[in-house]
């Protein structure tokens, strides 16, 4: 804990010089990661890190609507699908190999359009939140998300069951982002920028409005917050994250999309990330995404023989851990860390005030 506190102090000191300083340092520290991994371990880990970055984007985005604004959505994976498929279809060559629709746009054009389209879709997914809350909203968004998947699954122009294949990778001039390492810089940058903006949103007036809505919708509206506007804004913001993550996923080599990457199971995994990390906590989403991605990777060949049948136990473990997390650790890892930090800051501040004698507080 002392060690953690030291680092936190250091980061605070850096941030007091310039807001972006800790972020820049973090970015620089993350730059050599692929080389460390491929030199000392193996290059597969870079691929793992890439996928973790995509999930970080998704989880952080989901946190905006779920954690900041308190709106229950189970349709996030549908937005991810929309971002992925839109960008893929826009960038595929017309009449190309897969037999799907194609417009042949450059990747750097198709990604922003995909984000815009997803943002608009987010607005639509958010519309039910104007009238509905809690379980009703969950059902409506679940329905919307599943409809997106089924629509992709049965529409040949969007890949249907064969999937969209040979989606081009992004390139600058003759440099193509088609290796683990080059793609790492793309997704890592996106993830870090995503986390940074998530903090900016949280600290801004918009973020405070979100939190007011989460705590008490009626009180928020009485206090002059345009509840409908901010609810929709939360959905749109989270959709932008999902759209970006989706588009980056689509162009990630080998550039293949299939509707079964967007099922409810994926949505549940995403929920697990957010819950494990701690709902409403930005770093929680990040930690959750990393932990779950690594845990998933490490447990995927875990097979138990039961009555002479090989059984993959991983999904069972995932499901149960979700239930138990909600029951016994509802604030997740991030909530726990936040508690530690808050205590530390509180003690520090009271020490300053009381001249060295910290008083016990009642939480």
């Amino acid at each position: 804990m002392v060690f953690l506190s030291r680092i936190a102090d250091l980061i605070d000191a850096l941030a007091s010089r310039h807001r972006l300083l800790p972020w820049l340092i973090a970015y620089v520290m993350l730059l050599p990661l692929p080389f460390i991994m491929s030199t000392f371990f193996n290059s597969y880990l870079i691929d793992l890190a890439n996928r973790a970055c995509l999930f970080i984007l998704l989880a952080v985005g989901l946190n905006i609507v779920k954690g900041f604004c308190g709106q229950v959505t189970v349709g996030h994976i549908g937005l991810y699908a929309i971002g992925a498929v839109t960008s893929a279809v826009l960038s595929l060559e017309p009449g190309g190999f897969g037999g799907a629709l194609g417009f042949g746009l450059p990747v750097w054009v198709s990604i922003p359009i995909a984000i815009l389209v997803t943002a608009f879709a987010g607005l639509i997914v958010g519309l039910p939140s104007v009238r509905l809350e809690g379980a009703y909203l969950a059902l409506a968004t679940l329905g919307l998300g599943e409809s997106v998947r089924i629509f992709i699954a049965v529409t040949p122009a969007l890949g249907s069951s064969t999937g969209l294949m040979m989606i081009p990778a992004p390139s600058i001039g003759s440099f193509v982002f088609d290796s683990f390492t080059s793609y790492y810089y793309l997704v890592m940058t996106a993830a870090l920028v995503g986390i940074y903006f998530s903090f900016s949103i949280l600290r801004s007036a918009t973020g405070r409005a979100f939190q007011a809505i989460r705590e008490d919708t009626i009180a928020a509206s009485v206090n002059g917050i345009n509840v409908i506007k901010y609810k929709l804004l939360a959905f749109v913001l989270s959709a932008i994250y999902a759209g970006l993550a989706g588009a980056l996923f689509a162009h990630m080599p080998p550039g293949y999309l299939h509707h079964n990457n967007f099922t409810v199971i994926e949505m549940v995994t995403l929920l697990l990330m957010v819950v494990l990390g701690g709902i409403g906590n930005v770093w929680g989403g990040v930690i959750g995404a990393i932990v779950v991605t690594i845990a998933y990777d490490q447990t995927k060949d875990l097979v138990v023989y039961f009555m002479d049948r090989p059984i993959v136990v991983q999904p069972l473990v995932f499901g149960l851990s979700m239930v138990l997390l909600v029951l016994f650790m509802p604030r997740g890892i991030g909530g726990w860390f936040e508690g530690v930090l808050r205590n530390r800051r509180f003690i520090k501040r009271s020490e300053e005030k009381l001249g060295g004698t910290a008083r016990n507080s009642q939480s």
Binding site: L4, I7, A8, I11, D12, P22, A26, M29, L33, M37, F40, F41, N42, S43, Y44, L45, D47, L48, A49, R51, F97, G98, I150, A153, V154, S160, S161, T162, G163, M165, M166, D178, F180, F249, P253, P254, G255, Y256, L257, H258, N260, N261, W283, V286, I287, I290, V291, I294, D297, Q298, K300, D301, V303, R309, P310, V312, Q314, P315, F337, L341
Partner: protein, 401 residues
């Protein structure tokens, strides 16, 4: 709160620590990615592992052991790709086997092509897998492009041309449907009398059957995964469509759940496959007996036979390849294995016809088996029975544009 950066790094480091495995020299490393959570995956995966173990027990390949790693991809492309990456870049495999599902094999073809790892496909039939032009891919089963032709030829010549199509939305069935439709048009100039595109896991076909009943068709093609097909077959009888209307199955009709679930409704259904359990050859009889004893399978379907053939072809290729199996020779060994598989010619195993590969990265070279066998169910239920109706060998470039 920014201390989380550190936590981030720490967690990644932990993951890295867990993930490192030393690469052993002297082993032939084979990676397998399959759908383990399904009626197919479990038993096939087990059989591949058992067969490899048998090779090792008998002394291995020229004294070298095969180290096989089996991973589950849940028939999901992103997970399949992650598995392939992990096997190739972390386990440093020499050869990749997989996957069961076309939608997973399709992206993995690109992964293996780029990494330069030979890939053997156990039962994905989608024609596009070999059309991508990868030098590294070899398909054991009969490509989907042949199925349509065999089905269409038999149906047009023996049954009639007024056919109703029920096509489920999974990759294999969509392909089977489209291929047959194309061939019926090309050979006999007929369009489908009725065509219904249904969902992958549709459970209620009654309204389609009701319409088909009033049309007096000669036959119904039910292209769907096993359980879905079985339901459609049952419901076709419930709707009152008589036995004189022949039911044609897609390639998944060979899977045991079809006769098991459909029961009496499976009788008379015929389909194209790469292996017939009713085959009279001694090797087939031995194989049937082996699967029954080991895995409690009443009669193995062609997915079983293909997995078995795959291991045998792999054994032949590995025996012929000049392998160094040192840390430095990985790339060279992979190429040697690829060339050894490409030079397999006229392998006669369980498959309906001889399997031959060649060096060119074209579908003609890499779709090994070109002989499909037409099978009919003579009895449904748990202890179903089949008969061989015909055996058709196609031209290497049949079905290519």
């Amino acid at each position: 709160m920014k201390l989380m950066n550190k936590v981030f790094a720490g967690l990644v480091a932990t993951g890295v620590g867990l993930a490192t495995t030393a690469a052993f020299a002297g082993d032939i490393r084979v990676g397998i990615t399959m759908r383990m959570v399904s009626e197919n995956g479990q038993a096939y995966g087990q059989m591949v592992m058992d067969e490899i173990k048998a090779i090792n027990d008998a002394g291995g390949i020229n004294g070298n052991m095969i180290k096989a790693t089996l991973m589950n991809d849940e028939c999901k492309s992103d997970k399949g790709v992650a598995n392939a990456n992990k096997l190739i870049f972390q386990e440093n495999i020499h050869l990749l086997i997989g996957s069961t599902c076309s939608s997973v094999s399709l992206p993995i073809v690109d992964v293996t092509a780029k990494a330069g790892v030979p890939q053997m496909i156990p039962h994905s039939t989608n024609a596009k897998i070999t059309q991508k032009g990868s030098e590294w891919v070899f398909r054991i089963p009969v490509s989907g492009r042949y199925y349509g032709g065999v089905n269409a030829k038999y149906v047009g010549e023996n049954i009639g041309s007024k056919i109703a199509y029920i096509c489920a939305a999974d990759a294999a069935s969509v392909g089977d449907c489209a291929n047959m439709e194309k061939q019926m048009r090309a050979r006999f100039g007929v369009d489908p009398a009725y065509r219904a595109d249904v969902q992958e896991k549709e459970v209620d076909f009654r309204s389609h059957m009701q319409k088909i009943k009033s049309m007096n068709v000669d036959g119904i093609l039910v292209a769907a995964l096993a359980e879905t097909m079985a339901r459609a077959l049952i419901q076709s009888y419930e709707a009152g469509i008589g036995e004189d209307v022949r039911r044609i199955g897609s390639s998944s009709a060979s899977n045991a759940p079809v006769p098991k679930i459909a029961g009496d409704a499976a009788k008379g259904v015929f389909f194209t496959a790469a292996y017939a359990a009713a085959d009279n050859r001694p090797i087939a009889k031995l194989f049937n007996e082996m699967t029954r004893k080991r895995y409690g399978i009443h009669a193995p379907d062609h997915d079983f036979s293909q997995a078995y053939d795959l291991v045998r072809i792999m054994e032949i290729a590995l025996n012929n390849a000049d392998l160094q199996l040192e840390q430095w020779s990985l790339k060279q060994d992979r190429t040697a294995i690829r060339d050894a598989i490409a030079s397999v010619e006229g392998y006669e195993g369980l498959a309906s016809g001889p399997i031959s590969f060649c060096a060119a990265p074209t579908p003609q070279c890499r779709d090994g088996n070109r002989t499909a066998v037409l099978i009919g169910y003579t009895k449904g239920g748990e202890n179903f029975e089949t008969e061989v109706l015909a055996r058709v060998t196609m031209e290497p470039d049949f079905g290519l544009e």
